[in-house]
Amino acid sequence: MSVSIRSEETTYPNIFMPRPAEIVHARQDTAMEKHFTLKMMDGEPMIFEPGQMLEVSVFGFGEIPIGFASSPTRTQSFDIVVRKVGRVSGAVTALERGQTLYVRGPLGHGFPMDKLRGQDILVVAGGIGLCPTRSLILYILDRRSEFKNFSLFFGVKSPQEQLFLDDLALWRKSTDVKFYETVDRPDDKWKGNVGVITTLFRKTQIDPGTRVIICGPPIMYKFVIAELDGIGVSRNNIYVDLERRMKCGIGKCGHCQINDEYVCLDGPVFCFKDIEHLEEAFR
């Protein structure tokens, strides 16, 4: 029998320690965005809520906050979409199938599913705002009977910026979702709606009792909310998924603060009513 001569060490849990995830699928969706399907390598499944997020990293380059782009109803793997904008996202998007990404999460608060079930739902997604909202969209489609009317507005600057082309093709034909799309700047092939995302409100009737989820570039929110005010949607029923510089993801580092709220901890999904009074929340 061997006797340990090492003194007993206390091991402290390290909240910054990421877990390895294998890239089981990688596809360049647009010129800037790459779509990854990941599987945890340590055998522990990734259990998350739609709208929650991860810190995604490549050692030697750093971490970035990324929302889940798939639904937790699909348990074998999960998706993220990364736009190449800088050093870390450049290193992430250079990876291919079979390589390893490191992730910490799930982090933050996602969409309030209890308040969305049994209701009419409208998702308004601008650009890569479709990535985190896809976690909710797929969830609703997978559990369609739990929700009433489901509408989806999706807007991008140009047709080349459309993501999830396979999904879009399905949604256009689907009777489970009323799907409306628009582009700001059409090309020769584009036959759909032209204009900013708010022009889609003229295409359909939104019931004032609808629960509305908004995610898009910072400038988009106030225009969509103005439309919803016009329809008479209660600000209690509007949920916004916000972007900020969520460096640590655990409510410590301070970068993502809106006044006294930490987006990474209290959000990234907020009820609009809860934060509309915060001066730093919207432009």
Binding site: T11, P18, S57, F59, G60, G254, N259
Partner: protein
């Protein structure tokens, strides 16, 4: 445990410091040119309990400027939490209050053992304020919040020191020096020394924390922020010298071998221009606090209002470091708060 007080003769002080040094790494205030800093001690003669204020707060002993969180190599990552037993000696009460706040903030919601492990391994010994710094206002800020995270407190009397022992960690200090039980007269004298110090600050707030918090929050859209911040350099000095600031950035650094490295956190400051800036792609960016005045306001809101409910008072302890070290001299919380209260 009940507080117990002990007396140390003036002549026995150096051997007490030596005893602590031999037992564990000892950090204490020392002179650096015309200022003071907390630093590891190599001789008892270096210790300057008569300091007024240190350049950086003693939080750096627990929450260092640069700290490795995770180390990495080709095989993956490994935790870098490796606390070292330390004694942090000679901390003024306002800096103890600040450490109490950090303890709470790193513990709440998600426990950050990168901070808490070193905190658990640190014995904190407070000391009375023998000299008052030029911009101090600790006598009038957050008066309802008392320091509580220290293990012992030492007070200088004319002929020696009274050491008040507050925890088991503090009790261990007794074995390092020749202590005797303090007399009632000595305990009373020490208490009076600390009480008398409270009136000696050159700067004073004239209103209570609740009143200040409400009025400062209500002044969010005031023109004052723009006026005050007109000469701000956005240098972040006010953040870096603040004992209650704890914002940080996380960056990966390669080792020289270029195959291994560290994920490291470094103090950051909300006054710095790119603190809240994100990239949107294709060269576009969004800075959520673009204007200098917004960043300037955020710091003061954070000190005077945002954290008050959690902390039981303001996230400012009145050390005066930001006031003294701001080059254009616009960071002084007393001046900002007093103008809002008068307005």
């Amino acid at each position: 445990m009940n507080t117990k007080s002990y007396f140390l003769e003036e002549t026995a002080f150096d051997s007490f410091v030596e005893g602590m040094m031999k037992a564990t790494a000892l950090y204490a205030p020392i002179a650096k040119k015309h200022c003071f800093v907390f630093a590891p001690i190599s001789s008892p003669k270096e210790v300057r309990l008569d300091y007024d204020v240190t350049i950086l707060p003693p939080k750096k002993v627990i929450f260092p400027v640069h700290q490795d969180l995770v180390s990495f190599g080709p095989g993956g990552g490994a935790s870098a939490i490796r606390p070292e037993p330390r004694i942090l000696f000679g901390v003024h009460f306002y800096d103890i209050k600040a450490i109490d706040m950090l303890d709470l903030l790193f513990r709440e919601n998600n426990k950050d053992w990168n901070y808490l492990a070193q905190r658990e391994n640190t014995t904190i010994v407070g000391s009375n304020i023998q000299r008052v710094s030029k911009r101090a206002f600790w006598g009038t800020v957050g008066k309802g919040v008392k320091p509580h995270g220290h293990d012992a407190f030492i007070t200088k009397l004319p002929k020696g020191y009274v050491l008040e022992v507050l925890t088991a960690k503090g009790e261990r200090l007794l074995s390092y020096g020749k202590f005797e039980s303090a007399t009632d007269a000595q305990v009373t004298e020490a208490r009076k020394v600390n009480e008398d110090a409270m009136d000696k600050c050159p700067e004073k707030l004239t209103h209570g924390s609740h009143e200040i918090a409400a009025k400062v929050r209500a002044a969010f859209k005031s023109k004052l922020w723009e006026e005050f911040s007109r000469t701000c350099f956005s240098c972040g000095t006010c953040n870096i010298v603040c004992p209650t600031c704890y914002c940080f950035d996380v960056q990966d650094c390669w080792n020289l071998d270029q195959v291994s490295g560290r994920r490291t956190r470094t103090w950051d400051g909300c006054l710095l221009e790119d603190f809240a800036k994100v990239s949107l792609g294709a060269g576009a960016t969004e800075n959520f606090r673009d204007a200098r005045s917004q960043r300037y306001r955020h710091r003061l809101m954070r000190k005077a209002t945002y954290l008050n409910d959690k902390l039981g008072g303001p996230a400012c302890v009145g050390c005066g470091r930001c006031s003294a070290q701001c080059v254009p001299d616009i960071a002084d919380p007393v001046r900002i708060i007093e103008s809002i209260m008068e307005g």
